[in-house]
Symmetry: C2
Subunit: 194 residues, 2 copies
DNA sequence: CTGTTGTTTCAGTCTAAACAGAAACAACGG
DNA sequence: CCGTTGTTTCTGTTTAGACTGAAACAACAG
């Protein structure tokens, strides 16, 4: 962690922090961050040295990242050791992660909601209100899932364009569209009732 | 937790579990889940009794939910105690939560990336690769943020319709679109390479 | 003033997850 | 067969965060 440049170190630490705030193991996120910014593939021992964590920890993290499909093994001529590299394409990274979390968490949630709704309905009018609320939630989540599925079904360029579609509308409201416009959409949205 | 119906209990536990997997305190998520499905507003003591957690814990959780703007105090005639209710509207719930997490985590990440990029650029060509990777990430996240801002700027009905836009595409693939079609959109998205 | 209600804080406990470090094992190249 | 490399599994240990329960405090209604 000491032979990293300040910028790289800052990024890796922040990325690890973000990961842990979103339910991703900090070390896993850090390993990924380092691979993502590394110009060339790294060995497990490189990662151990750079991040200062145990070998077993790195090994597990690499396995998990490979399981997600965002890190893969490559081989370097004249070196028997495995080297690892991250997907470089950010869009692909995004979709792969979203796919995986959808499968692991989102879809089971929708299914669990369907179960709860069935159960509440079978319990008769006494739980009608519960069934109603859960149905609203279930339908909303299903819609989101369906929307994401549609987006994923598009070829990548079309998908990116589909996301950009809002930009035209946004310009009507006088907002810019590139990087630093974030704040414009943050503050005054609280008590609006769309 | 024992006087809840099985369906309600199952939902609350699952919701708490999901919350904790996405960086939201389990108790906070459970309190919200219970308020969300409750036909009438509940007092803090109701929550203590139903969830079996400490009073201070409920109080803190309620404060946090109020801070997010998804729970509010209401008063019941002839009762001096505060009663709490959740936003019932799922779309509003979603946007409020997304707004808050964007503000707390997403925007700071974009800003941190900009910092790292500046630093890497100032370090000269030695860190050109780092700057390049981080810029790709930064631009992607900015785009996502901009897209979300656009969506939020739309009146709600238009926003929902904008999300539904994919449905037409989806129907080409033979999927349905309304509530129970969840399973249809799940499986086959894995190994496609857009 | 007194009892009720609610908030906040704080010290201590508890727990799940992360993590370290070692060991055992497999694969394989030379 | 030996050395290298990598994986897996295990036992402890550590740590962050969640949580409890109590206490101090404020507000206020009657």
């Amino acid at each position: 962690m000491d032979d990293l440049t300040p910028a790289a170190r800052k990024f890796i630490l922040h990325w690890g922090e973000m990961g842990s705030r979103w339910g991703i193991n900090r070390t896993v996120a850090q390993v990924h961050a380092l691979l993502f910014v590394s110009p060339e593939p790294l060995t497990a021992d490189d990662l151990v040295a750079a991040l200062g964590v145990a070998r077993s920890n790195v090994s597990t993290s690499l396995k998990e990242l490979q399981g997600w499909g965002i890190v893969r093994v490559v081989h370097v001529m004249g070196d028997r050791r495995d080297h690892f590299e991250s997907l470089a394409d950010v869009w692909e990274l995004f979709t792969v992660i979203m796919d995986e979390r959808k499968k692991r968490e989102f879809d089971p949630t929708v299914a669990a909601l369907a179960d709860c709704i069935d159960e509440a309905r079978r319990a008769g009018p006494r739980e009608a209100h519960l069934a109603e609320r859960l149905t609203a939630l279930h339908d909303f989540l299903s819609s989101m899932g369906g929307w994401y599925g549609s987006l994923r079904a598009l070829p990548r360029s079309a998908a990116i364009q589909a996301l950009r579609l809002g930009d035209r509308v946004k310009s009507l409201f006088g907002f810019g569209s590139s990087s630093r416009s974030a704040k414009a959409s943050v503050a005054p949205t609280r008590q609006r009732r769309n």
